[in-house]
Symmetry: C2
Subunit: 339 residues, 2 copies
């Protein structure tokens, strides 16, 4: 059935029913939710001793995804994951989501249910409550999600507190998402394990929410998530902290499926591919030692913060490494910017 | 200059500068804002003794507006106003906004500054802080805004507490927005005063935030804002409250410029035009008397809540009035739904 046959309000009823079924009253977000989907506003009680944090991010058809390669379930997961990753990069726990859907009238209702299934699957892992939303018609599909979270005020992670003497580290490995994009857009014939892991990296990244809390506990205060690409996101830290970031390119952990399948490009993909949703953070060597004991995921020190400005890339012999392109600018696509 | 010439990050810098300049530290939202535009998440301290409320709503090009008739300043005002109206309908004060902009690359930077000027103009009237946002490329312009507010838990307004014996009332007058849409889409040659007032009703409605707080103080608990159209929004109250709403059509206040310029259609425009962003509420006659003393804007009692279900329209002789169409369904546009 098409959404134009069903109508807006029956569609909202279906989605509200799915969200209500996913309700988990053992989680703080659900316990504190006073008004969910179906009134003018969602309403929730505020948790004590925490500050609220908020983020909005979006997936637009033909910009961020194509419907012939992405599944609706993946889109639902991803639009929540990219927001959760920002909440994690700020040191918070995600709580309440509001969803703005824009849909062509001939969209299948079952597809929108799949979208919500993907969103609710990830939401359920962290007790996030889908508290409300809005639906309208449009020529192309877009999904905008706004997410709040909670954090302790003195323990917020930010981009602006990197200091000379800090080490630079990253969780997990990089370039997998760029590999997944290439896999899907070029319909490459890789082995099944590589296809699976690259597609997962690109379409259903797992936000580092648990790791973020351990970083905060370990004493880390400077963090960003890698959405624009390692070098560009490092640039954001350097600019806002007033420091220079030195990255040793050979130490940057590359996703195994890109080193195996794209050996010529894997360094570039890891440095500037973007959308990896790993955490990039800086801390003193003492704090970094605590981080290594606390986190169970891979943590790799890839460089250090020094006096100065900008991002410096060094190869294995300590020579300056020049990057032809360094990440994503939404309005200069096709000619990615070099900062 | 086009946004594609400027680039994403310089554009964000410009908008962040405009928002920072509009900062007003005498207002609670700004006082409590810890991290604004420029980090992964916005962060704010939570106000004591209040619940948080949240809403997301959007304007999409060629669905909600056309760029040849709307100004960018109007779009900025309107996207905030429609969210503020929902916060008002819930009995809250608006606080923090997050903005998702999707723009074609050839959009003029000056236009986006105008968009923010309009948004900041309205935000400034109520101390709303634009706390963050996200920008991406798209084929058509869309502006999605997520707004939080604060309300007292026991004093939230909702759609679900209308009771038999309540009177039904509405603030201001209706149909002006429908008149404005007709004015712009048909490029009508009305007199300047009518053009101004209808355009204002459609493009820059003034959300009833102050009135909402007075409704709450007066004891009102059941409210919705008129976005889909009087009859349809009354239907939402009836459905969620399990009651029947009886509306006396001749008592519905019509915008003076529609009675003057569209005499044949003015009743229909007032009943089902939508987007008026007036408050529709129900209360006992005693509470309604308090409301009349408290509010300085026009308040008109247009009907009463009775046992039953659905919305009943009566003409001046008490006969059932049948409406050919009753409001907006986003997916059945062109064939508006009758509930």
């Amino acid at each position: 059935m098409k959404v134009s046959e069903l109508g807006e309000f029956p569609l909202i009823d279906i989605l509200a029913g799915m969200v209500e079924e996913s309700r988990n009253d053992s989680m703080p977000a659900w316990q504190n939710l006073i008004v969910g989907i179906g009134d003018d506003c969602a309403a929730w009680r505020v948790e004590p001793d925490h500050v609220q944090i908020g983020k909005i991010d979006a997936l637009f058809e033909n910009i961020h995804f194509k419907l012939d390669t992405a599944t609706w379930r993946e889109l639902g997961w991803k639009v929540l994951a990219i927001n959760m990753s920002d909440i994690a990069a700020a040191g918070g726990m995600p709580r309440y989501a509001l969803v703005n859907l824009a849909l062509p009238p001939d969209t299948e209702v079952e597809n929108i249910k799949d979208l919500y299934r993907g969103m609710l699957e990830l939401a359920g892992k962290f007790g996030v409550a889908i508290a409300g939303g809005n639906i309208s018609r449009a020529g192309e599909v877009s999904i905008v999600l706004s997410l709040t979270g909670v954090a302790r005020e003195g323990r917020l992670l930010s981009r602006s507190v990197a200091r000379p003497g800090h080490q630079i580290a990253v969780t997990g490995s990089l370039g997998g998402s760029a590999g997944g994009l290439r896999l899907l857009s070029q319909n490459l014939d890789l082995d099944i394990a590589a296809r699976d892991s690259l597609r997962t990296a690109f379409m259903t990244p797992f936000p580092r929410v648990a790791e973020s809390l351990l970083l905060v506990e370990s004493g880390v205060r400077c963090c960003i998530d890698i959405s624009d690409g390692l070098v560009q996101d490092m640039g954001h830290i350097c600019e806002q902290s007033g420091v220079r970031g030195r990255i040793h390119v050979d130490r940057v952990p590359r996703h195994p499926a890109i080193t195996a399948n794209f050996p010529m490009d894997s360094v570039l993909m890891a440095l500037s591919g973007g959308e990896d949703y790993e955490l990039l953070f800086t801390a003193s060597p003492e704090t970094m030692a605590k981080v290594n004991r606390a986190l169970t995921c891979p943590v790799t020190v890839i460089g250090e913060i020094v006096e100065g400005a900008g991002v410096e890339l060094l190869d294995s012999r300590g020579r300056v490494f020049t990057l032809p392109q360094t990440g994503w600018d939404h309005f200069k696509a096709g000619r990615r910017t070099t900062k």
